[in-house]
Subunit: 170 residues, 2 copies
């Protein structure tokens, strides 16, 4: 979840050939794109920086977001807090260009390797709080203590997002 | 989801100091470990190879799995298909030693950087189908065509897991 005040987009896309799931063998070892959407119609998506390998965010896609990502080569997600299709970077300029898309064994998760564009008011970053990665904090082993791995924000979210509501839900 | 025939473990752990979620500021910019578990009591977990940066799997943890991972420094998950606590590698030997744990902005996802041990019958790997990563297939942009990124399995799952039921759900 990140940069969620980017513009929603709702127009439909050309369909990708998504196969029905017929067997474990087909899903795991076949040639079909046969994603498993959960009871909310979503599939989890890990997004990493294609160059550094850093995990930038963990988001979710509905079928339309998955298809738009494949067709356009730019990351689209489903915003669970705003309940809209979300073209990452549409407002902030922090677009994620997909270098490679992977899908996992049981096809209930995708992995995007992306190149993040510089924003209109920012160096490349992907976190709505202003950090490069949403995972800017370490959890210390044994203790569970929180330690900041990124000690400085990349951008000021107030400048980039203005008064858009914060998407973090308690 | 991977190597899911590893032994379940059900004993409880010493508690980590997990804080209640009281404000967006506390969750995003505070010093508290205040994870958000979903309606099933789970938090998503991205696991990457600490050396190569490759995404190995996307799993889920309940509170006990999260605490055990922090306390023991070895990855524990909640197996959604088997509905048991799952100490990765307990059967196969393919244990994931945690090098670093991160948590994201709204604390509804964790990222584990791990070193994978060699298994009893295998080189280091993390996918129950036999591949190094669960994300062994690419989805081609524009077309959605499936292309195998890993062309050879690292191990034979029949040797490592025997007759354990396949965890992939249709």
């Amino acid at each position: 979840m990140s940069n969620p005040s980017d513009q929603p987009e709702t127009e439909s896309t050309d369909a990708i050939n998504v196969a029905p799931r017929t067997s474990v063998e087909q899903v795991e070892e076949g040639q079909d794109l046969a994603p498993k959407f959960d009871r909310d119609g979503l599939i989890a998506c890990v997004t990493t920086d294609a160059e550094s390998g850093e995990v930038l965010m963990l988001g979710y896609m509905n079928r339309e977001a998955l298809e738009k990502t494949i067709l356009t080569g730019e990351a689209h997600y489903w915003s669970r807090s705003r309940q809209v299709l979300w073209h990452k970077g549409a407002t902030s300029g922090l677009v994620q260009r997909v270098v490679e898309m992977r899908i996992d064994d049981d096809q209930d998760a995708v992995w995007l390797r992306v190149a993040v564009a510089a924003g209109t008011h920012s160096e490349p970053a992907s976190c709505h709080v202003g950090y490069r990665s949403c995972f800017y904090r370490t959890v210390e082993l044994k203790t569970g203590k929180i330690i900041y791995a990124e000690t400085e924000k990349t951008f000021d979210p107030k400048v980039v997002y203005g008064d858009a509501p914060n998407p973090t839900l308690l």
